[in-house]
Chain length 228, copies 2
């Protein structure tokens, strides 16, 4: 980043970084550590990863909790920088292609061990930022997708999607998300072709949406009694 010293050759046994560099190094390595160990990971283990001593952390963060907050900020904001508004709503392209590309890009951003583990750990802590993220997925992704689907199907683009539509979208989204969990958290064998997986999931989601749109042209469809 902004190293103050003008390009002096970096010594092999590097110490004495600039404040900004050291601070961001703490956040980066803390993300790695907490991803593996959970937020119970120790400040001494963190310092060891940087090759410094533990009290140095407290020159840059008043407490471990503040460091954790910084990690949250970094992790939760990272995947938001792909500009999905533009991607999802660009009606000059076919809907199917937009959805496919969006989910490929989105999953490229979040499908990695680091991101998923931090996300799950912080979700288990029940923090506000996690609720915020879930709400953001709903408002900025799923609602937008449903609006585009309704537009594509020639339906009224109502301001808010129905609960049933949202649930359909959530199950679809969750199914894709779970692919990442299986691969990077459970380290279970998955279909290697991620794009194919997205394509297949999209197939059934879009078919399901059409089916739902047909069976009730604008009202909530009657529930189908199935259970035996």
């Amino acid at each position: 980043m902004n190293r103050k010293t003008p390009l002096k050759r970096v010594r092999t046994k590097q110490k004495r970084l600039s404040a900004d560099d050291r601070r961001s190094e703490f956040v980066t390595k803390a993300t790695e550590l907490f991803a593996e160990e959970g937020f119970g990971g120790g400040t001494r283990a963190l310092a060891r990863k940087l090759g410094v001593t533990q009290p140095l952390l407290y020159r840059y963060f008043p407490s471990k909790d503040d460091l954790i907050k910084e990690v949250y900020r970094k992790v939760y904001l990272e995947p938001l920088e792909i500009g999905w508004e533009r991607l999802l709503s660009d009606r000059s392209r076919p809907l199917r292609a937009r959805l496919q590309e969006f989910y490929e890009v989105y999953t490229d951003a979040i499908f990695n061990r680091r991101w998923l583990r931090i996300y799950l750990y912080s979700g288990l802590k029940g923090l506000d930022i996690n609720r915020w993220y879930v709400g953001m997925v709903k408002d900025k992704i799923l609602t937008r997708i449903l609006r585009e689907c309704r537009h594509d199907a020639g339906l009224a683009t109502q301001s808010r999607p129905s609960a049933a539509e949202l649930e359909l979208a959530w199950v679809f989204h969750g199914g894709i998300f779970y692919y990442g969990v299986r691969k990077y958290i459970y380290e279970a064998p998955v279909l290697e072709d991620k794009a194919q997986m997205i394509s297949d999931a999209l197939d059934i989601f879009l078919a399901g949406f059409e089916r739902m749109a047909e069976s009730a042209t604008d009202r909530r469809r009657a529930p189908i009694k199935v259970v035996g």
Copy 2:
């Protein structure tokens, strides 16, 4: 359970349980504690929940890790007692009804804060038992479902499902699972009618399966090139 003392009125300030009772009480309360706090939850906090002192734990478990293993056993084996073999494979009933009922019963068993949190925490620890469970879901649930689907569609009931079929089933299963996570972990608002959610998810899964079965009557279908 098996209280030795013959029905003597339980004293309000109950102490001195039988060994079996005390032991299972430890496991039960430990499950609650670890579900909330993660496995970092303290033995003293656990003892406080039972109204006893902390060293008593070590009369019943040689170490905290052994207690945790017992918690795993309890949590992972609980939902297995619903007899899904019978439920899924009973071909005297229509496939759709079997699947609906299975997922209603299965989610009744695992969709609660305690189970889901323990499951996620232990998944993050990357233990063998978690991998075992995921493999069990694949072999005992998804593979079985796919076999029944193939039979229902008049296809050859091959011994093992194709990778694409399995992935389809996983996305479906994961989508349903994620409903529980949203409700009990993220405590986000969900469509309250769980049976309806399952029904909708089944609709699109079955439609997707038929679609996949059509486009390749017995061979792996050619991938659809979509990405823009």
